[in-house]
Assembly symmetry: C2
Homo-oligomer: 264 residues x 2
């Protein structure tokens, strides 16, 4: 139980007919925001992805519809138009709907697309940002996204292919900034991406850190280099979800008192 | 009051002699995480920056030392070595210390540097990530950091000058990626940065959105372009803290049900 002082602002509740796009953060339920918890507790329909911890879903009220629409590589999943249609249907039927996404809905989470469709359909919605795994995952393993010694910018990028003819040049342009790149959903195409980054001028010894299951019990980190990454991933299974950090920050090792994954 | 189910993981408390580097999120107290709230509630010394809402500080227990070490442009403030020395002294004196920072301690927050100094001094510390204002600020004004139509990457950059001789080329390299750039602490040097980005090839009509006091009561947004930004900022006061979004995403206007700043 969390007791809040009297002057703490009132947290709104999800109303029938509304859809809230809620970020569940990087994994550990303790990294949920107050707004996210209140949303989950007051919704009567929750549409969620694969990356949501059961202890987060257990915040839902009794009798709430819990609908899984996960999209994990290889497994059957709902298409984006199906998900949007479900959100609209539920809201129009008078449900108080939460669309729960790992990380932040607006950072490689298709929250923007879903919000635009909801707006078109005349459904009232809100965005509740969450902590994105690309920043928190490395942080909890002692890797800061920025330090004054290493970088003045940090790039968040998706590993998904965009347009075939631009793909290589896109990666090369990112490499040429010399700034660290944090990759989401990049494990499937890791070899191709590492090669394109090297092709863009990144040194083969550029530090790389791969964080699997950030902030969760089975969290692990692999420290490697641009040259060795593919070899090392073959030797060490790094199951998704994984975040890949490429650049000077990936070599930083701040010794933490205790990691999130060490906590009960 | 927030009631959590029995299977919700126990939240640790700050122990005497420890320092926790805690992210307070973009501004609104409801965007604090459970971990952050518990940290603030169990610390007996809180060292904080300028950007922390009083309602966040009011979470502290009675009698806790509240020490302000803000660094706002022009105003007297503690130097970074002074801040680190204070953290170490307080921890060594047996205090349960929270170092509270706006946004995320590891995203342009010098959390990495402070953590390294704490580690050197043998002080046990933790990192509690927060939602960074560069992502949540635009989100709450209807601007997603990424959409599949507009970008496969997003760049977070600080407006602070790095090394004089590299500064222009750094900005030009970021511009050449064609990806949106989200700027922190860029208002003082806005003209110089806009010119360098144009010099790097960004079209003069590239959309720009400036968000002042993200998620707070006095939040406002200015929509402009690379060419018009300086002129428009002169016509419309955009007090810091401000986030500047440059790129296709800055033109997106998702109509929100209600903004964080509209809430009580």
């Amino acid at each position: 139980m969390i007791t809040l002082p009297e002057n703490f602002p009132t947290t709104p509740t999800v109303k029938p007919g509304e859809v809230w796009l809620v970020g569940a953060g990087p994994g550990d339920p303790r990294l949920l925001t107050i707004m996210a918890i209140k949303a989950i507790q007051t919704a009567d329909a929750i549409i969620h992805d694969a990356l949501i911890d059961t202890r987060v879903l257990d915040l839902a009220q009794k009798g709430a519809k819990i609908i899984y629409v996960g999209k994990r590589g290889g497994m059957a999943s709902s298409s984006q138009p199906e998900i949007t249609a479900t959100l609209i249907e539920l809201a129009q039927a008078g449900h108080a709907v939460v669309r729960l996404k790992g990380g932040d809905p607006f950072v490689f989470g298709r929250g923007g697309e879903e919000a635009e469709e909801l707006a078109k359909a005349g459904i009232g919605f809100r965005i509740i940002p969450g902590i994105t795994a690309g920043l928190a995952g490395p942080a909890m393993m002692g890797i800061p996204a920025t330090t004054r010694k290493t970088n003045h910018a940090v790039i968040l990028a998706t590993g998904h292919r965009v347009k075939d003819d631009q793909d290589g040049e896109n990666w090369r342009a990112l490499a040429r900034t010399g700034q660290p790149i944090i990759l989401y959903m990049a494990m499937k195409r890791l070899e191709e991406i590492m090669l394109a980054l090297a092709d863009g001028g990144l040194d083969q010894n550029t530090p790389v850190a791969i964080i699997s299951s950030a902030t969760m019990k089975d969290e692990k980190v692999l420290r490697t280099t641009l040259k060795q990454a593919i070899h090392d991933v073959k030797q060490n299974a790094m199951p998704s979800p994984a975040i890949v950090v490429v650049g000077a920050i990936a070599a930083i090792k701040i010794d933490m008192l205790v990691k999130m994954s060490d906590l009960p």
